[in-house]
């Protein structure tokens, strides 16, 4: 048995779905953020797998993954800043209670 592209892609899909479930079904804003990170990782796996199996000499997939990582780091920083800012103002990080703009 050899591990081919499909294996990695299926792994990526499952991981993405888990992240999706977490992002949709959770109260805690930090846990939602963590779920989003999992989704981004899943995407990275897919990108690199494509790169490895389809254009191994080109490395474009890896470069995309690299950018994704940089953006993920930025996203986390801003996300956590928002969470902490909300916590400071509303003393909660329950995403369902942060509904100021929901009418």
């Amino acid at each position: 048995m050899t591990i081919g592209l499909e294996h990695y892609l299926v792994l990526s899909a499952i991981l993405f779905s888990i992240g999706l479930y977490g992002a949709l079904a959770k109260h805690n804003a930090i846990v939602i953020l963590m779920s989003i990170e999992i989704m981004l990782s899943a995407v990275n796996i897919a990108l690199i797998a494509f790169s490895r199996f389809i254009v191994p000499a080109e490395l474009t997939g890896q470069i995309f993954a690299l950018f994704a990582m940089a953006v993920a780091a930025a996203e986390t920083a801003v996300g956590l800043a928002i969470i902490i800012s909300i916590y400071r103002n509303k003393e909660t990080i329950d995403a369902n209670k942060i509904d100021l703009m929901k009418w």
Partner: protein, 367 residues
Amino acid sequence: MALKTETFILNAGPQHPSTHGVFRMRLTLDGEVIQDVEPVFGYLHRGIEKLAEGLTYPQDIVFTDRLDYLASMTNNQAYVVAVEKLAGIQAPERAEYLRVIMAELMRISSHLMAVGFLLNDLGAFLTPLLYMYREREKILDLFDMVCGQRLTYNYMRIGGVSQDIPEEFIPALKKYIDSLPGFINEYEQLLATNEIVLIRTKNVGILTKESAINYSAAGPVLRGSGVKWDIRKADPYSVYERFKFEVPVGSVGDIYDRYRVRIEEMHQSIAIIRQAMEQLPQGEIQAKIPKVLRPPKGEAYGHIEGPKGELGFYLVSDGSTNPYRLHVRPPSLINLTALKELLVGVKIADAMAIFGSIDICVGEVDR
């Protein structure tokens, strides 16, 4: 980041490396910043003031050793000064000179410890403390030679001192006094210009002149805040009028000033010991006092400048052999009153340094 965070209570002590004994600070913290302090004492309370009422005047000297155990000689001296004032006894000159030599040696020893522990609290891994210990050991050797103990000397007596110094004392003392300034300068070099020490101590824990006076602070804490107040100059006791020495004062009142004042006082003490050694007269060491001392009815307050501040004994006599009331003016306890003002708003690390710079001895705080 100024976050909205919950405050929480941290018990620093009673067993904590930086509380110098069994002393507890209940710190209310917001992150690392101290919001409120409550010192909790009493873990070493032995009721010495009450015990003293059941003992005769000479027996109480033994208990003064156990107040500030880093400066037993000065405790002895303060007590005997008070009793002599109460009973109207004048100690012979030689005894007074010996007392001065011992008290100044004790001051050097206590200041060495204070500075060493302060630097230890600043985080220097034991090195300066052990250097200070080395110098202190030499002083303890001298005390050991004179009175046979290294910590609880029980050397001074009402109307004199217990024994005359042995003949090898003065040469050893001279040798020590000659070598000490070099060592102190070396320690100065080690730390006084050290950038880390400077940024940790300068402008940290400022006690202004006014609050220092208002808080009844005494000793290096008061002088570090710029108040030129030293009992040896303000109200000379013993033979201190005969010596030339300066009273070093600080300017800002921060940790660094208190540290400088202690270092300078060591140099001044060396000068005093030099003069005392030169002037040391021959003669009696013990005044004639009755076998059973019964001071007349009345009260007296005798005070001296201890290493940690004004150390006084307030005595009330009812004409019997035991003091009717003995009260210690404990500089450690009274200096601690300012702790709350100094600590609120600083970080834990600074709190420990400030606490170290006040230099308390729990034996004296709790009595």
